[in-house]
């Protein structure tokens, strides 16, 4: 048996939209099969995962709050992946951005260091510091790649572990709340260091708007700017890009800086808007899930927004399923992996006619 791939002429718009939808449907079927094998009802599981979170106000807000960091990180990653730069350490850049941005919140706690300026500058400074810190952290794999030819895949990933351990140390050590009964957490931020809520008494915070703005800006950059064209060209046809005089190295640094900044911004928005203090762990793996979001959204910002909502739904649904059906949380992770595989496979069907030939030599 062998699989034959025949290139299609021009990929149709229809197929490009249908492919991720079909991939999601196949992933659902596989997930349902696993749930059935675990002795639970797949129909009930589907309801808990994908329907119930959509029926209540608080869970809708929760979806938006979880989709925001995913969309923000994935939008940054779209620049990298389109340019064939493989930043898989967004999780680390998220953590460093959240920690350094949060640090400003700690320094200014209780009115310290504000003087005549007042407190209006604290939030913007935190956001900028978070984005810059994320970008700076992404510069390590960027410079190692362009100066020394070290693969950014491995270095960016190794730096995730380093960032996690560093945050753990800071929160247990120098940044620990002295009055916190020895819990490994910092003080709670003042309101001047907390992103405002959009709904009174709800969970929806201004970080969600940041994500929407980022998606809009990225859409324009990809569609309308020379830089966006450069990113697409270097990824799709590196030789042509060289002839056009685009520098691959400069671009690699630029896209890593963008994705690092986006991840860092997502980190500080999460810390300031959602958590309200620094803890030993500030991310349920957003940096890795965002990779799936980027591909499910076909590396285009509007698609990423939809994909982020879908994956945020699996997070909320996963928590619900754990309570209602006693399905372990790992189920969500396994499903996300299956989903990414299905998305990648579906992508092939948009570019090739796939025929399975039985018999004959490979």
């Amino acid at each position: 048996m062998r699989i034959d791939l025949e290139p299609r002429g021009a990929p149709s718009r229809m197929l490009e939209i249908l492919a991720p939808v079909a991939a999601f449907a196949v992933a659902l079927l596989i997930g349902g099969l696993v749930v059935w094998l675990l002795g639970k009802s797949p129909v009930r599981a589907f309801q808990v995962y994908f329907v119930e979170p959509l029926t209540q106000g608080w869970s809708l807000q929760e979806i938006a709050v979880k989709a925001a960091p995913l969309a923000l990180i994935a939008t940054g990653l779209a620049f990298c992946f389109r340019a064939n730069v493989w930043n898989i350490g967004a999780e680390g850049q998220f953590i460093v951005g959240g920690a350094i941005g949060g640090w400003i919140g700690l320094l200014t706690h209780g009115g310290a260091g504000q003087g005549v300026l007042g407190s209006w500058w604290i939030l913007p400074a935190m956001l900028i510091a978070g984005a810059l810190a994320g970008a700076a952290y992404a510069m390590i794999p960027a410079l190692l790649r362009v100066r020394l030819g070290v693969s950014e895949i491995l270095t960016s990933l190794m730096l995730v572990y380093v960032a996690e351990l560093w945050l753990d140390y800071m929160v247990r050590g120098p940044w620990k709340d002295p009055k916190g009964f020895n819990f490994p957490v910092t003080v709670t931020f003042d309101s001047s260091a907390t992103l405002p809520l959009l709904v009174e008494g709800g969970r929806l915070h201004a970080g969600v708007l940041l994500a929407l703005v980022a998606v809009a800006v990225a859409t324009v950059i990809f569609a309308r700017s020379l830089f966006g064209f450069e990113v697409r060209l270097v990824g799709a046809a590196p030789r042509a890009a060289r002839f056009a005089g685009f520098s691959e190295k400069r671009l690699a640094v630029a896209v890593l800086a963008i994705s690092g900044a986006a991840a860092g911004l997502a980190g500080i928005a999460e810390v300031s808007g959602q958590i309200g203090q620094l803890q030993t762990s500030i991310s349920p793996g957003y940096g890795f899930t965002a990779i799936i979001v980027a591909f499910l959204g076909r590396l285009s910002p509007p698609g990423i927004l939809v994909a982020a909502l879908v994956l945020a739904l699996t997070y909320i649904g996963g928590e619900g399923a754990q309570i209602a059906l006693k399905l372990p949380l790992d189920m969500t992770k396994a499903f996300q992996g299956v989903l990414l595989m299905c998305v990648l496979a579906a992508d092939v069907f948009t570019r090739y006619r796939v025929r399975i030939v039985t018999g004959g030599r490979a």
Partner: protein, 308 residues
């Protein structure tokens, strides 16, 4: 340092190096065939979970190790279907495999958290294993360690001394030419990927059956990724992978002993970060040394669609 402690340190370096070596040798063969499988971490952790589960249920280390290998192979088959069958992006497919593997390992190992079983038995040759200092170091390990060494030798022999190995390397360097010559590119790659999966699964089973020996979620702690770095560090040569594994194993061990001894005034988290930092430094040093340019297989990571 007194010789007993030195012997203990060297002994633990070897045990810490073994899972890295086994996984790296598997990935080395895969990459020599021109395929980059970033799913090592995922295959390894599923190997650890399934290996422990099977070892616990059957009360046999051998069954556990075989089950771990089979689990790693099952995952790598999925990967082969994607990247060889459908020519998907290898980086993204490998990441998908790792994410999937981390989830599946949690499901497979859920019932076995907190259970413990006896570690794999160690070789004992009366007389030889009792030799002072070197006895335990050379003749006193469990069979995984000797298996890892044998695997290294076998991979070296296969890649450099057999016709099939030559074919595999040719495919990894230029799949289009190899295809034109009538070499079965895709068949070689699928087999190489399966071999890599078996090795990663075995490396994981070693962790949960001999190294710790129990199962905890996330217990591979990035070792799969370090094994991937090790392949680059080795310049795709098996014996250099052995040297690299001992170096990386040394970094892990240093961390453990420094924490136990407490002599250093360095926070535990910094010591835990050491293996990852050493990995990055090793990649830097290698690239500074190897100014002649990369020794990577030329077709590494490129999708292959055969023309008819």
């Amino acid at each position: 340092m007194n010789p007993d402690i030195l012997q203990l340190v060297l002994f633990t370096i070897v045990t810490a190096a073994t899972p890295l070596l086994i996984a790296a040798i598997g990935e080395l063969v895969v990459e020599r065939a021109g395929v980059l499988n970033l799913g090592v971490e995922g295959m390894m952790i599923v190997g650890a979970a399934v290996g422990f589960a099977a070892g616990y249920a059957s009360n046999s280390i051998l069954v556990g190790a075989l089950a771990g290998m089979a689990a790693g192979m099952a995952l790598s088959l999925l990967f082969a279907l994607l990247v060889v069958g459908l020519a998907t992006n290898q980086v993204a497919s490998g990441l998908a495999l790792t994410i999937f593997g981390l989830g599946v390992s949690g499901l497979a190992g859920a019932g076995f958290v907190g259970l413990k079983r006896e570690a794999a038995s160690h070789l004992f040759i009366p007389g030889l294993s009792d030799l002072p200092f070197v006895g335990k170091l050379i003749f006193g390990h469990d069979f995984f360690v000797y298996g890892g060494l044998g695997l290294t030798a076998a991979a070296w022999w296969f890649l450099t001394r057999t016709r099939a190995g030559l074919t595999l390397r040719a495919i990894g360097d230029n799949h289009v030419s190899a295809h034109s010559l009538g070499l079965p590119v895709r068949r070689y790659r699928v087999l190489a990927i399966l071999f890599g999966g078996a090795c990663a699964g075995l490396a994981g089973a070693y962790l949960s059956l001999a190294y710790t020996p129990f199962w905890t979620p996330g217990m591979t702690a990035g070792r799969g990724w370090i094994a991937l770095a090790l392949v680059v560090f080795s310049s795709w040569r098996p014996w250099r992978a052995l040297a690299g594994a001992l170096l990386f194993g040394g970094a892990t061990t240093l961390q453990l002993h420094a924490q136990a001894a407490g002599g250093f005034r360095v926070p535990a988290q910094f010591m835990s970060a050491l293996p990852y930092i050493v990995t990055i430094l090793a990649l830097i040093v290698l690239s500074v040394w190897d100014r002649r340019g990369t020794t990577a297989p030329a077709a590494l990571g490129k999708p292959f669609v055969p023309d008819r």
